[in-house]
């Protein structure tokens, strides 16, 4: 079946503009995660959605970042008033169940965001 898909694959934006990144998880996966991967750094957790529960937003770096998940499927990560330090690859992952200890997460190809 299809894996996690993300769009766009690349996004170049000017400093101060808003951007929206989209994630389509694997069909039937109830948990969805957003991570950020900056050059030379490890993947950094941003936000987690599980079913109809309130999302875990503990990784969002500032209030310029927000995310929503509509209908328990597609998710959009929004960055307002982008800054150059927001430049990174934004990765989305999904898994069957969020709370099972050893359940694996499957990643999409990422969106490379460049803020000029």
């Amino acid at each position: 079946g299809a894996g996690v898909s993300q769009s766009p694959s690349n996004k170049v934006t000017e400093k101060g503009k808003d951007v929206e990144l989209r994630c389509d998880p694997i069909s039937g996966h109830t948990a969805l995660y957003w991570y950020r991967q900056s050059l030379g750094q490890g993947l950094e957790f941003l936000i987690y959605f599980q079913g109809n529960s309130a999302p875990d937003k503990s990784g969002l770096p500032s209030d310029r970042f927000s995310a929503e998940r509509t209908g328990g499927s597609v998710s959009t990560l929004t960055i307002q008033r982008t800054q150059q330090e927001d430049s990174a690859v934004y990765l989305c992952a999904s898994s069957l169940v969020g709370f099972t200890p050893s359940i694996e997460q499957y990643f999409g190809p990422g969106t490379r965001l460049t803020v000029t």
């Binding site: 996690v4 948990a31 995660y33 991570y35 030379g40 750094q41 490890g42 993947l43 950094e44 957790f45 987690y48 599980q50 875990d56 503990s58 990784g59 990765l91 992952a93 969020g98 709370f99 200890p101 050893s102 359940i103 694996e104 997460q105 499957y106 990643f107 999409g108 190809p109 990422g110």
Partner: protein, 108 residues
């Protein structure tokens, strides 16, 4: 503080030269240790989950082991197609905490 440290940062091997990658971790409550492979321009690809000390898992030329403080990814007789960045992550709760990875280059 939950933390993952991977070593070495980069490793260059000749084809057929076996070696190991290290992942040291400190975590408040381990609910899984994960190994991923990441090729340039792509998202991480799941390899293994280890849950308890003493556990081992194998896939082709890769073998992952786990102790209470670290995990090893052993690569036996590697081939050029094994070249990639190998990421280790721990799962204390819902999120994964990743190390910065080991960049492996296998030369023919």
């Amino acid at each position: 503080e939950d933390q993952v440290t991977q070593s070495p940062e980069a490793l260059r091997l000749q084809e057929g030269e076996s070696s190991s990658l290290n992942c040291s971790y400190t975590v408040s409550g381990l609910r899984g240790l994960f190994w991923y492979r990441q090729d340039p321009g792509k998202g991480p690809e799941f390899l293994f989950t280890l849950y308890s000390a003493g556990e081992e898992k194998e896939k082709e030329r890769l073998k992952a082991t786990l102790t209470k403080k670290e995990s090893f990814l052993h690569i036996t007789a590697p081939k050029p197609e094994d070249s990639a960045t190998y990421l280790c992550a721990v799962r204390p709760q819902n999120k994964l905490i990743f190390g910065t990875g080991t960049l492996l280059a296998v030369q023919p």
